[in-house]
Symmetry: C2
């Protein structure tokens, strides 16, 4: 396997998407695919796809394209699809509930195992087979889970992040508007709904005819 | 103003974030800021910030930094902050409701004006001053809104996108797992919760000590 630290982050961000599309092709019984077909289906330009694939040592053949099974095996190994990643959900509001209703296991092996909230009405309930515990029980019930989805009110974001880090969390998907500060060995990905909307509006106005670089 | 079509998309994606931070500094009464301070607050490395700012013709002075008011005026103009952008929400499930509860107007001028759903229990209700209409009334009630947030079931995503485009929508923030196909003059930004989670896990494993390029 090539040294993955040489893969640009922009390429790495597309990996889960490639995996999902190739898996769909595999399920449909297709054994090969061209970069053009992938481009149309994924809305990523085909030059980008070819460059990305070359980082993984996968070279398409003219008039044949890429071998689906080979690529799928490669991505599965790269993305550790054979390994289950348990996830904890912090905050069972509307956004948190949307996550619980979202069938993560359909396309990949990440799964919310347990959820926490401070609201007595939610504590003790079960949503899609996931138990909602009181946030006071976090340290006791988090086990060795290393990934957290943070959907708490913005005022709680930093203190909750501090607590998650102390409890052993190594990655946080932050859906609050707060930029949180964590130690260097903890990874935070931040999705701010307001920023995403504003960004769309900006791109509509300034890049109306270009496809998204994503 | 410099030609904005020369700004790389990666830089453009950071614009709303810059705007928000500079606005906070302005509210706090600060009149200057260094790229290092911005870097710490925004979790973007300072070389990237300096390069981004140079695209806008803003050059920091050694020992002084950047002038907050100048930058803020520039970003406000660039992001059209003086202009209100009305938004339509399609699908008032948990995720849609989270959007309605999210106070978009706090940091920018995008605002959900109207929402649509097919569920008779939701139709006719009002959430945070936004009326929920039946989806059958879309064409009648959408007015000249050009931006849509799509939070419908995946099976409805493409047909709803087609309908939105016919109704005059020019930008879609797609929160369904479906990659939707639209004409070239319509912009789609896609946020797939499952892909975001998988991406975080991948980066945790392979880039544990690098900061996010975002």
């Amino acid at each position: 396997m090539p040294n993955q630290h040489k893969i640009p982050q922009a390429t790495a961000k597309r990996l889960p998407l490639y995996y999902r599309f190739l898996n769909n092709l595999h399920i449909q019984g297709k054994d090969r695919v061209s970069s053009k077909e992938l481009s149309l289906a994924m809305k990523v330009d085909s030059a980008t796809i070819r460059r990305d694939f070359s980082y993984f040592g996968a070279l398409g053949k003219k008039g044949y394209g890429y071998n689906v099974d080979y690529l799928l095996g490669f991505f599965r190994k790269t993305l550790d699809q054979d390994e289950n990643t348990p996830v904890v959900l912090i905050g069972v509001g509307n956004l948190g509930t949307a996550f619980l209703n979202y069938n993560f296991t359909k396309n990949n092996n990440t799964k919310i195992e347990v959820a926490f909230d401070a609201d007595p009405i939610k504590v003790g309930t079960e949503i899609r087979n996931v138990n909602v515990h009181h946030i006071d029980e976090l340290e006791e019930k988090i086990g060795d889970i290393q990934v957290a989805i943070l959907t708490v009110p913005v005022s709680e974001a930093q203190s909750m992040a501090d607590r998650l880090v102390k409890a052993g969390i190594k990655g946080i998907l932050n859906f609050t508007p707060a930029r949180i500060t964590v130690p260097d060995n903890v990874r935070v990905h931040h999705i701010d709904l307001s920023v995403e909307l504003q960004s769309l509006v900006y791109f509509m106005k300034h890049y109306p005819l270009e496809i998204e670089e994503k």
